[in-house]
C-alpha cells in the first residue's frame, strides 16, 4: 500500500490523454494520470508513482523547504538559547517547524 517512488514525466501521451512516460533513474514506464485530472502535470514535472498511477505532484519548493528546516536543526536551538538570554518571550513560537 505504501511503496511509491518519485519519477520524472518525460512525455505525455498524445493519443491516450491519461497516460505519460515516466523515468526513474533511467527505468521507464507508462503511468496513468487519471488521478491527477484536476492538476495535470506536464513534461519535466515530478510525480509520485504507485502501482502504475501518478498519485500526486511532488513540490520541489516544499522539498527544499524541508531540507532547509532540517539543516537549521540544532542551529535554531543555538539561536534560541542566545535569544532567550535576552529575556524575550515565546521564542518557541518562532521555530521553523
Amino acid at each position: 500500500m505504501c511503496l511509491a517512488i518519485p519519477g520524472k514525466i518525460v512525455e505525455i501521451s498524445s493519443d491516450v490523454t491519461h497516460s505519460a512516460l515516466v523515468d526513474v533513474m533511467g527505468v521507464r514506464r507508462r503511468v496513468d494520470l487519471g488521478l491527477l485530472q484536476e492538476d495535470r502535470p506536464k513534461p519535466g514535472d515530478w510525480v509520485l508513482i504507485h502501482v502504475g498511477f501518478a498519485m500526486s505532484k511532488i513540490s520541489e519548493e516544499e522539498a527544499l523547504d524541508q531540507m532547509h528546516t532540517l539543516q537549521m536543526l540544532g542551529e535554531s536551538e543555538a539561536v534560541i538559547e542566545e535569544v532567550r538570554g535576552y529575556g524575550l518571550e515565546d521564542v518557541e513560537e518562532k521555530r521553523i517547524i
Binding site: 500500500m1 505504501c2 511503496l3 517512488i5 526513474v24 533513474m25 533511467g26 527505468v27 521507464r28 514506464r29 507508462r30 508513482i49 504507485h50 502501482v51 502504475g52
Partner: protein, 352 residues
C-alpha cells in the same frame, strides 16, 4: 569439498522432511540448501564431506582437478546482453574459476522441446561456441534428448566442466578470519533485473544488459596479486550477494559486515529495485565474483582487479568480523544497520 568413497551411503537416512519438491527448492536459497544438504549429501557424498562449494576438487593420482556441473533454465531464452547459450558456458567457467581453477573442457547436454524452431537452437549453439572461444575453453562433447511439447521450456541446457587448479590457490571457508576484507568485482543486479524486465510482465524499459561473462581473468588477477591471501571465492548467481555471503557466514562461523555506500550499483538497477521494492543484494549476477582477501593484501588485490579488463568497478565492500556470528549485516554511514538474509524463492516485486 573433497570427495570420499560413497559406497556406504546409499543406505543412509535422509534429513529432508518435505513431502514433495517445490519451485523454491531450485531457487538457490534456503530451500535449495535443505534439499542438497538433507537429501543429496547424505546419500551421495561422503559422511565427512565439508561445506559444499561451487566445484569439487578431485585427486587423480598426482593431479588435482576441479569439476562442476550446472543446469540452465531461463525465460526468456534470449535477453539484452546474452542468452541461455552464454549463461551455460560462462556459468560453468565461473564456478570453476571461483573454486580456483582454469576451465579446460566442457560437455553440454541439451533437453529440447519438440517443436523448438531450429533457428532458435542454432542461435544458442552459436552463442555457446562464441562464449567458449572467449573464455578459452574447449567444448569436448555432449548429449541431446528431445521431449514432448510442453515438457521443457523450449530447452534446458546442462554444462559440466573440468579445470586445472591454479597453483598456490587453496581456498576454503575455514581459512576465513576476522579482519579479512570482502572484495566484489563490479556492479550487482544487472543480470537479474535484465531478465525481470525482459519477461515483459512489468512493462518497464531500461538500457540494461546482463553482465554474463567469464570472470576467470579477474580471478586470475586477484590470485596473482594476493596468492595465499585469497581465502574464499564465490560467484553470486541466484540469490545474489546476500545468499553467497550468508552461506559463507554459516560455513566459517563469523559475521560479514557490509558498507552499503561501497556496494557498486548502476543507476538503472537501483531505479528498478526502488520501483519494485527489491533489494539489489538478492538479485542474480552472472559476471561477478566475491573474494575474501586478507587485510594485508586486500588493497593489492583490489588494484589488480581494477587494472584488469572489465574490473574497473571492483570495490572492497565489507569485512569479516566476529559478530554477528553466522550472519550478514549491512551498515550505513549514519550508523543504521540491518541484517540481510538468504533469499527464499525468487525475488518478487512488491507494492506495499
Amino acid at each position: 569439498m573433497s570427495v570420499t568413497k560413497t559406497m556406504e551411503n546409499f543406505a543412509a537416512k535422509i534429513r529432508f522432511r518435505e513431502p514433495q519438491i517445490e519451485m523454491a527448492h531450485g531457487a538457490g536459497g534456503k530451500a535449495s540448501r535443505r534439499l542438497v544438504e538433507g537429501l543429496f549429501a547424505p546419500l551421495l557424498f561422503g559422511s565427512n564431506s565439508g561445506p559444499l562449494g561451487d566445484a569439487a576438487h578431485i585427486q587423480i593420482n598426482d593431479t588435482r582437478i576441479a569439476m562442476t556441473t550446472d543446469s540452465f533454465v531461463v525465460k526468456p531464452l534470449s535477453f539484452p546482453g546474452g542468452s541461455i547459450g552464454e549463461l551455460a558456458i560462462n556459468g560453468t567457467v565461473n564456478d570453476l574459476a571461483v573454486s580456483g581453477a582454469r576451465a579446460e573442457a566442457i560437455v553440454v547436454t541439451f533437453v529440447l522441446e519438440a517443436g523448438l524452431p531450429t533457428d532458435i537452437l542454432e542461435a544458442e549453439v552459436r552463442a555457446m561456441g562464441k562464449a567458449a572461444q572467449q573464455a578459452d575453453v574447449v567444448i569436448a562433447g555432449g548429449d541431446t534428448k528431445v521431449v514432448e511439447h510442453g515438457k521443457a521450456d523450449h530447452m534446458y541446457v546442462t554444462t559440466t566442466g573440468i579445470g586445472r587448479l591454479i597453483p598456490g590457490v587453496d581456498i576454503a571457508a575455514s581459512s576465513v578470519r576476522p579482519g579479512d576484507r570482502v572484495l566484489l568485482s563490479g556492479p550487482i543486479g544487472d543480470h537479474g533485473i535484465t531478465i525481470l524486465l525482459a519477461r515483459g510482465e512489468l512493462d518497464l524499459e531500461a538500457e540494461l544488459r546482463s553482465d554474463t561473462r567469464s570472470v576467470f581473468p579477474l580471478v586470475q588477477a586477484v590470485v596473482s596479486a594476493a596468492g595465499a591471501g585469497v581465502r574464499w571465492m564465490r560467484d553470486p548467481t541466484r540469490g545474489g550477494v546476500a545468499t553467497s555471503l550468508n552461506e559463507l557466514a554459516r560455513d566459517c562461523g563469523y559475521g560479514i559486515v557490509l558498507f552499503e555506500e561501497k556496494i557498486p550499483l548502476r543507476d538503472t538497477v537501483r531505479g528498478a529495485c526502488e520501483l519494485l521494492g527489491l533489494d539489489p543484494l538478492h538479485i542474480a549476477n552472472e559476471g561477478q565474483f566475491l573474494a575474501i582477501v586478507s587485510a594485508e593484501l586486500a588493497d593489492v588485490a583490489l588494484r589488480a582487479v581494477r587494472e584488469a579488463p572489465g574490473g574497473s568497478e571492483a570495490e572492497i565492500i565489507g569485512e569479516v568480523r566476529e559478530q554477528p556470528a553466522g550472519a550478514v549485516l549491512v551498515t550505513t554511514l549514519y550508523g543504521g544497520m540491518r541484517l540481510v538474509d538468504m533469499l527464499v524463492g525468487d525475488p518478487l516485486p512488491r507494492i506495499c
